[in-house]
Subunit: 242 residues, 2 copies
């Protein structure tokens, strides 16, 4: 699962923030020369600030760029014919958004900031051109997409074969891993999304999710007030997630 290996490429952007790639998955496993770094850097100059609730792109928008979350977090969701939303993913710092649009040229889902966030815009045409010259970059791009597929398959498995409480355990451990990857605590973190969003993502009613949180607390597995969560028995939760 972890593709984070190899030399870390440190990029410093124009304002010294945008292109600090120590977290950004697209650069990480690359081993580029100074000149190549500059070129990749050039693609990532454009940065956008998003207030909570801001739409990054809408379903149906023309696909022009991929985005890397720099700070904060986003959710992506599809809207069915009758306006029902289905959340397809949450995207935290260092993660990429928009990969599902490459195929059809328009965004099949909508991306919205869950909190005040910043994202880095990468024009796709330019990225594609550059990746033609940098084999490592090309491979990494494919890897990211493949990883997305892999994740979706895990999610499919979870949503069909697992009980509600198993799903909660799975998603909790998933977040735990993603926070840990960024050097944050694996047992004490803040879920950036509402209970509603989370229940939607898990294919459950909000009421069911609420009851599950209570049950987990009664069992002494976690403590949570609001969005803050402390995992007291990560081993037990992991066991449940299997």
């Amino acid at each position: 699962m972890e593709v984070h290996s190899g030399k870390v490429v440190q990029l410093s952007g124009p304002r010294g923030v945008c292109c600090d790639c120590s977290q950004f998955q697209l650069c990480l496993p690359l081993d580029l020369g100074e000149a190549d770094i500059r070129r990749l850097e050039a693609l990532m100059q454009r940065q956008r600030r998003l207030a909570r609730g801001t739409v990054l792109y809408r379903s149906g928008d023309r696909f022009r760029a991929l985005y890397v979350v720099r700070t904060g977090s986003l959710k992506t969701f599809t809207l069915s014919r009758d306006g029902e939303a289905q959340i397809t993913g949450f995207h935290m710092a260092a993660e990429m958004v928009g990969l599902d649009a490459v195929s059809i040229g328009t965004h099949p889902c909508e991306a919205v900031a869950l909190e005040s966030s910043t994202v880095c815009e990468i024009p796709f045409d330019d990225l594609e051109n550059l990746s033609r010259e940098l084999p490592g970059l090309q491979r990494q791009l494919l890897r990211l997409m493949s990883r997305e597929i892999f994740h979706d398959h895990e999610m499919l498995q979870a949503l069909t074969r697992r009980s509600a409480e198993e799903r909660l355990a799975i998603v909790l451990m998933n977040f735990s891993r993603r926070f840990a990857r960024r050097g944050l605590s694996a047992t004490r973190f803040r879920l950036p999304m509402s209970r509603n969003d989370l229940s939607n993502y898990l294919g459950l009613a909000p009421e069911t999710l609420s009851r599950l949180f209570r049950r987990f607390q009664e069992q002494g597995w976690l403590e949570g007030r609001g969005k803050e969560v402390v995992l007291l028995r990560p081993d037990a939760i992991q066991e449940m997630a299997n």
Copy 2:
């Protein structure tokens, strides 16, 4: 959804069968010179025959090649810790298998022939190298992966927000479209997989699926004996699938 446009590249393989690309999604939208066609062709020479039930690759196998289904059909599925299978997809002629392995270098799922089938093997390293020189090929590769993500998201939506009968309607129309795309009848076809596999894919108990088929027949929407299916009211089924 349909990326099938542009000039059709006709390739004739060594035995005159392997590389007839009129159906193969990787070549379709390309506009290549004679020399390039030969090179792409060269990647696809290796063909494998699979008897029903034959394993193409196992979960955990080192990832070396992608496969294109030439005839017959395959299923792919993941195995959870405790041996439970979750079918992630059915793959018919002209469709590609193995894309989810690019990320981690090993196959995360297992591929098995549903009937006597043939597949075309494409060594991934070679494909990657060639795609560096042929921009159209590179883009098409990304597109295929993105389409897979798109499909998975649709599936996620179906499995969480839709009732059992809606799911059946969705999958029936999906197959209908895929058969039609290959020039076969959209209303009269043979489902290559067992009821068990189909129910697993839809996240339902086999019994539930059986009852659904009966209900659809009672309503005069379809007729089916065994794996043969005739859609009598595709409009109604489409309506249900929404």
